[in-house]
Symmetry: C2
Subunit: 305 residues, 2 copies
């Protein structure tokens, strides 16, 4: 799976993914109005607005990008109706040939992680048949429970040629509270990184492993160290743009082969029309604003590579 992602990155020359994390506050008034008129101010109405918003952004950007990263929480907040749109979004992205990174940060004890893995990147067996619940290509995973909480995800990756990104060093302000604490002279995130390498050593797909790592753009010195510590591990890099990470901060996430990282931007792309730089598009043309923001982001990142 990581090879497929790299092929698409090479083809698009865009080492980025668009974070499909729709907050209602990002959705233009005319989209909300139309959905509420049809389905009322209800969970259905909100879900329909999210779907129409996503569809327009996908339609305006799919040919420029290798992948999308829907954040499932933004759908889960609307209950079943929201999660139905998560699935619809995943399916639609696949129709468009996009790779889908499900950002769910799941993780639990072994048997429970196995159920999450089956539902998100694998299949569940019902009687004599197999079904994919959500069918994403990659999934983000939380490592706090250790090896037996992560292994079931790795096993599904290996069986189904899917991929993972395990949280190592996250982009948020308080990520250091536990992740940076020193254990035998090295921060926790380096110990987690060491395990991620170990978990992924039997999942090589070309020069990289299908077991990747989440490494935030907001801590460039740490990504420099992690890049050296895990040369065959792909990084999913959140934190560019709205969270404060710059292109300059990102360069350490990449290897000398020009690969090794895929940078996510959510708000900066999907709510681009709200920014002064893209104000000329107006809310009516929010999809075109997103397209221009993708073009600008790719150029910005390619400048430092």
């Amino acid at each position: 799976m990581i090879k497929q992602l790299m092929d698409k990155i090479e083809k698009t020359k865009a080492p980025i993914c668009v974070g499909l994390d729709p907050m209602l506050s990002y959705i233009p008034e005319h989209v909300l109005k139309q959905s509420y008129e049809q389905f009322g101010e209800s969970l259905e109405g909100a879900a329909e607005a999210v779907w129409q918003f996503n569809k327009e952004i996908i339609d305006c950007t799919w040919d420029l990008i290798p992948a999308v990263k829907p954040q499932i929480a933004m759908y889960e907040q609307f209950g079943i109706e929201g999660l139905s749109v998560y699935k619809k979004t995943v399916d639609y992205c696949h129709e468009k040939g996009l790779i889908v990174i499900g950002d769910a940060k799941r993780g639990d004890i072994g048997s429970t992680s196995a159920a999450y893995a089956a539902g998100h990147i694998g299949n569940v067996t019902v009687g004599g048949k197999r079904f994919a619940g959500f069918n994403t290509d990659f999934l983000t995973v939380n490592p706090y429970l250790g090896t037996d909480g992560v292994k079931p995800f790795v096993e599904v990756c290996n069986a189904e040629d899917k991929g993972l990104f395990v949280l190592v060093k996250t982009s948020n302000p308080s990520s250091g509270e536990f992740q940076d604490r020193l254990i035998d002279g090295r921060p926790l995130y380096e110990w987690v990184a060491e395990k991620v390498v170990e978990w992924g050593k039997d999942s090589m797909d070309g020069t990289y492993s299908n077991v990747g790592a989440v490494v935030g753009a907001t801590y460039p010195e740490m990504s420099r160290i992690l890049r050296k510590q895990m040369p065959h591990t792909y990084f999913l890099v959140p934190g560019y743009g709205a969270q404060g990470g710059t292109a300059e901060d990102l360069k350490y996430c990449f290897n000398e082969d020009g690969f090794g990282a895929i940078v996510n931007s959510s708000r900066g792309i999907i709510a681009a029309y709200k920014k002064e730089a893209y104000g000329k598009f107006g809310p009516e043309h929010f999809g075109e604003a997103s397209r221009q923001a993708v073009i600008d982001m790719v150029e910005d990142i390619n400048c430092v590579l």
Copy 2:
């Protein structure tokens, strides 16, 4: 919310919750057969079987217990159909007067945790109206991202009188891989415990905080230390029974007031009919086997208190 839970524990004299974690392999053949006949070997068929299984267990145990703990992964594996049954189960448990602990182990950066909190224990605003996506009373939360990933959950707790159980020391075999590593002479889980106390200090509801902790039954020496370190924090204790924790192991999780812990059992209750001790009930009477297993578990635990 923790006060409501304690009142129910006092009334039932049962400091336990039933883990509604239905695997298809736990569900008796006759239930599966009937569901598959109606909905086919499909996600709908599996979901219906899970629902019928849950309903029978709830009907047979609700009057003996204060709470249930559905593990959302076991529903999520069946996609939208499974999650619809998760919601249906939560709603049915509420009709029966049970407190529902959603075991979802969510956690992310701030804005994303806020969305999870809204969906699971709070409300989401759509236009001028508010809706609860899943409406559980408690939610389990993963602390790996630190304070800004947990605070949004605490804020919803405080606003809506709901509760949390934050992972501190989990029950699985490899939980020590990161959680037990020493930082300035103390294991990581103690540092997490310290933060849990801090996060919960403005959420007092009687003598305990609405911000609780997950502390596995399988590591009694550690629960003894944690019990002292966090006297006003309620413990959700997994690992009793099938995972190897005994009643003797549990006693340190409780305070001298007889409160302070709620012990979960999943497989040991919901799949009791498969165990030799309850074999006499047979698969046809799996609900009654679960009822007897609840009675036996409560007696077992009350012996050591």
